[in-house]
Each structure stands twice: as structure tokens, then as C-alpha cells.
């Protein structure tokens, strides 16, 4: 099974990278002009540089293969906007973005699962409150959340710095923004999975054997619900890298996500391609990892394998 999953991983990576590469050919007009970011940039030297970087004199598939080969070995080309290696541009911004994703992940996993458990175990008003809160949280786009948090905690109350980055303190509001939607999803999944598990016979059996309710929740209900919870946490974390595009822009953080937005607004296609490739590859790899993790959580899957 693991081999099939890995083969699927490679196939998806190839397909998506092909789409990202081929996109420049779909652009209206001449690809060279497009890659150069507009006619005004077309000096003869620059044209030559682009031709060399993209191997534009080779057949299409060879171009793709060489581009992919370069990308895999870390050669992502040069950005004409920054006049720097794309790889270096990304490397410099990666720690801040990964830090943001990690911070947000911790937040949404801890609070999302806790709220879901609370809703499932307590029921009644706590349940309704969590359901209403998550409905609201999934209905507010993250850039609006960002604006509200900045207004309230950044400016009005002055608890958090509004701009800049670096410290954990700086990252708190962005991380909360990034985590909010994810938190809503996870608490719903947790609640649903626990409600389903709670109805199973073996939980009643455990209760009938005199086990305390707290132990029933942790050892049986939550344990049984772990499969969907872990899967969803993995998927949401994987997608979070793409979420940084909005959050970093909203908080003016200097990371990979805002790099992508700037690259697109300045027609810096090498950077656009590289960031896309990185985000998509990370997403595919993490989702595959989550699938490979399943047998560890549910022994029944191991048998089917």
C-alpha cells in the first residue's frame, strides 16, 4: 500500500508541476515576453538570460524536464524584480512562514480538539455555543478576521504589535487569524467523530464494566475518534501554507505567502512558479504522509493493506 501511495505522490507531483510549468505557455502572447514580465523589460541581454534559464530553444517536453531537474536541485532561476536567486529569496522568508504555520497549527489543534471534546461531552448549551461559534468562524474570511484583530488588539487595546515580525509576540495575531478557520473545522470533526464513537456498543460495554466516565472519554471515545481527527489536522495543516498568502499580506509579514502576492502583482513569474511549486509540493507530501500514518492509528487498516 505504501508503495502505491508513493507512486501516486510522484504522479501527482509530476502532474501539478507540469501544470505550473505549462501555465506560462497558456499566457496570451509570446512566452518570452510573458516570462520577462512585459515588453518594457525586453533588453537583448535579458532576453538571452530568459532563453537560457527556461531552455526556450529546446522542445517543450525537454524544457519541462530541464526546468524540473533544475527545480529539484534547488536552481529555481533568478528573479528580475529582486535581482537575486529565487532559491535564496525563498530561503530567507521560509523560517518566518514556517514559524507562522507551526504556531497556528499548535493553536488550532489544541483549541480545536478541546472545543470539540467539550461540545461532545458536555452537550446542551456548550454544544450549541461551539456549533454557533464554528459556523461564524467559517463564515468570516481570514482577511476580515485580520482587520478586526488588528483594530481591536493591535490599535484599540495595544496589546500586540501591529506591523513587523520576528518574535512570537509579533506572530500571535497572524497565527490566531490563520488558525481560526482551521479551529472551527477541527472542532466540528472532533465533535462529530466523538458523537459517533460514543454510540458504539463497546463504549457501553466499557461503561458497564464500571470504568469512570473520564476514562471512557479518553481511552475509548477520543481514542476511537482519533483517526478522523488526525487526518483532518494533517490536511488542514497541509493547506495552511496556502493560507499564509492572505494572512501574511494582511499583516504585512515578510514571508513566502506575501512573496507570492508581490510576485504576481509585479509579473515576476520565476518567483510565482517557484513559490507555487513549493506550496503544492508541500501540500501533496504532507497529505500523503497523513495517509501513511493511518495504520498506526487504526490497526484494522493495517490488516487490509
Amino acid at each position: 500500500m505504501a508503495v502505491r501511495k508513493l507512486a501516486g505522490l510522484v504522479a501527482t507531483l509530476l502532474a501539478t508541476s507540469f501544470v505550473i510549468f505549462g501555465a506560462s505557455y497558456a499566457a496570451p502572447g509570446d512566452p518570452v515576453t510573458f516570462l520577462a514580465g512585459g515588453k518594457e523589460n525586453l533588453t537583448p541581454e535579458y532576453l538571452a538570460a530568459i532563453r537560457a534559464q527556461y531552455h526556450l530553444d529546446d522542445p517543450f517536453l525537454v524544457q519541462y524536464a530541464r526546468w524540473l531537474g533544475d527545480a529539484v536541485t534547488g536552481d529555481l532561476g533568478r528573479s528580475m524584480q529582486y535581482n537575486d536567486q529565487v532559491f535564496d529569496l525563498m530561503l530567507a522568508r521560509l523560517p518566518s512562514t514556517l514559524g507562522l504555520v507551526a504556531y497556528a497549527s499548535v493553536l488550532f489543534v489544541v483549541f480545536g480538539v478541546a472545543l470539540g471534546v467539550l461540545a461532545a461531552v458536555r452537550g446542551g448549551r456548550a454544544d450549541s455555543a461551539v456549533v454557533a461559534g464554528t459556523t461564524l468562524a467559517t463564515s468570516v474570511p481570514s482577511f476580515v478576521t485580520a482587520a478586526v484583530l488588528i483594530s481591536l488588539f493591535g490599535v484599540q487595546l495595544g496589546w500586540f504589535p501591529v506591523m513587523g515580525g520576528g518574535s512570537l509576540w509579533h506572530l500571535t495575531l497572524p497565527a490566531v487569524t490563520l488558525a481560526l478557520g482551521a479551529l472551527a473545522i477541527i472542532s466540528r470533526v472532533t465533535r462529530q467523530a466523538m458523537v459517533e464513537q460514543r454510540e458504539l456498543d463497546h463504549v457501553t460495554v466499557a461503561r458497564a464494566s464500571g470504568l469512570a466516565e473520564r476514562l471512557i472519554v479518553t481511552r475509548h471515545v477520543l481514542r476511537g475518534a482519533l483517526g478522523p481527527i488526525v487526518t483532518m489536522c494533517g490536511l488542514v495543516t497541509a493547506g495552511m501554507l496556502a493560507g499564509t498568502v492572505v494572512v501574511e499580506t494582511a499583516f504585512s509579514l515578510n514571508g513566502i505567502g506575501s512573496l507570492l502576492v508581490k510576485a504576481i502583482n509585479t509579473h515576476d513569474f520565476p518567483v510565482t512558479q517557484a513559490v507555487m511549486l513549493f506550496m503544492v509540493a508541500a501540500y501533496i507530501v504532507v497529505t500523503t504522509l497523513v495517509e501513511l500514518l493511518q495504520p498506526l492509528i487504526d490497526p484494522r487498516v493495517r490488516r487490509r493493506a
Binding site: 464494566s209 470504568l211 469512570a212 481514542r223 476511537g224
Partner: protein, 313 residues
Amino acid sequence: MVLSVEGLTIEAGGRRPILGDVSLTVGRGEIVGLVGESGSGKSTLARSVLRLLPRHSTVSGRVLVAGDDVLTMEPGALRDLRATQVSMIYQDPRSSLNPVRRIGDFLTERMVFTLGRPKAEARARALELLAAVGLREPERHMRQYPHELSGGMLQRVVIAAALAADPALLLADEATSALDVTTQAETLALLRRVQAERELGMLFITHDLHLAAAFCDRVHVLYAGTLVESRPAKELFEDPRHPYTAGLLACTPELDDPRPIRPIPGRPPSLDDAFTGCPFAPRCPHATGACEEWRPRPVTVPGGSAACRLVEV
């Protein structure tokens, strides 16, 4: 008495109670059968002994285990009762075990967390119990997951777990119904053996009257939440006094039995069927108009009682 149910009535919003004024006792070393069709309330009765009541239900009457009323005791005492005094064996062993935990965890969990035994001791005891219920490789089974064992083996595991705390009362709720015939026989033999060895009181719940008659000392027949006949197994089998009991016996074919097969007409009553008189009257071959008004009450017959107007006359 290990178990004494007195006038137990459970209502859960239907047009008639799930159980209506049911009384029965189980003594030490005694196997008492409880027979009924699905929907008769037999599982509800068994579960009420552990106070696992249907949601939103109102309960009256008493369920005494070793003299204490289960229905009114403190939560702590209830957990203690569930852990040490009463054990239950369920119809489907596969759904009784948490599929993502090992057999060993299932067995030691209750010993460690409810009886407070050290882990090593619990493990040793679990191995002992697995051997006692006839599993040959206890060490290996301890490490296995439920899906790796057959239904019969799992039911042995469940029985082993039931014995873990040396209970005084065993509730077997259709414990062998989901197993195939040979495993069923082995499991029954095992139940009988552990029951005799430990002098357990056992409430044996089944839909199979023949099985109950062969396996139990006394048998209660439940219909629509009320006891229709309560007598020693042998007498009940040879001379059923309630038409429903007779009907149940007549609808199973048997070798060398000259009686013709006669299915009971109609269907088992649901919770929305309310009755003014005898609940069995609509399906009873002997019913007369008076049966529709006669409120069933136990009438003394040889060895026990039957709740039928025709017996009373």
C-alpha cells in the same frame, strides 16, 4: 438472593411501558432464563441491572443486587457494583471490544482502572483468565487486536473479562446467538462450567425457548414487557400453561416431536401498541372477548405462575 427485581416498570415515551411490573430473582449458583421475542424488553431488563437505562426514561420499582438497590445508589457505588459484582456478556462480541485496542488492554483495563490492581498483576491475571476460558495461546492473544480473532474466540475473551473481578452475578444477553452452532455449544459449555465452578448466579437471556429450557434451572417468559409465565425449566417445557409459551414451543420444529409446526400469527407488539387487556390476546388462538379486558396478573400454576385468564378459570 444475588439479584432480586421487584415490580420494575420502565417507560420511555412509547404508548406502553418497555417493562411493566416485572419481578424475578436469581439465587447463588442458579441459572435463570429470560425468554422473549425481540422488542419484549429482555435486554432492557438486563441493562437495568447495571442501570444502563434507555434515554429519557422513567423507572419505578427496585433492582436489588446483594440487597442494594441499583436504581438509587450513588454513582461511586454504582461504578463499584459494575466493576466488581455484576458482569455482562453481550450478543455481538465483535462490537463489545474497542477495535483499536489490543485484547490485553481490554482485559487489564478494568482491573487496573476499576479494581486498582498493579499492571503486572493484572497482566498475570488476564493470562490466567484467558487460559481458563480455553484459549490456548494467551500470550499471543494478549497482543492481538479484536479483528484478528474469530467470533467464538472473542466471546471467550469477553467471558474472561467478565470473570476478571470475581462477580457474583453474570448477565448473558443473547451471549451465544451471534455465534455459529459449534461455537455456540462450546461457549454454552464454557458458561456452564465457569458458572458451576464459581457458583455464579446467572441471568441467561435468549429468544430461544428450547435453549433456555435445556440450559436454565428456571425460566421466565417475557411478552410485551410483562412476564407471562415463570416456572422451572423442565415443567415449562413439558407442560406450558400460557398460550404464548406453548406457541413459542410449537413454532420450532424438533426431531421426534409429533406436534405440528405452528407459527404464532401476527407480529411482536411495538412500543406504540397499547393494550387494555392481555397483550397477547390479538395473537392468541384461545382468546375470547373477555381477554381484551382482563388485566394480566400472575396466576399460580404447578411450580410457578402464568398470567393468563384461561389458566385462572
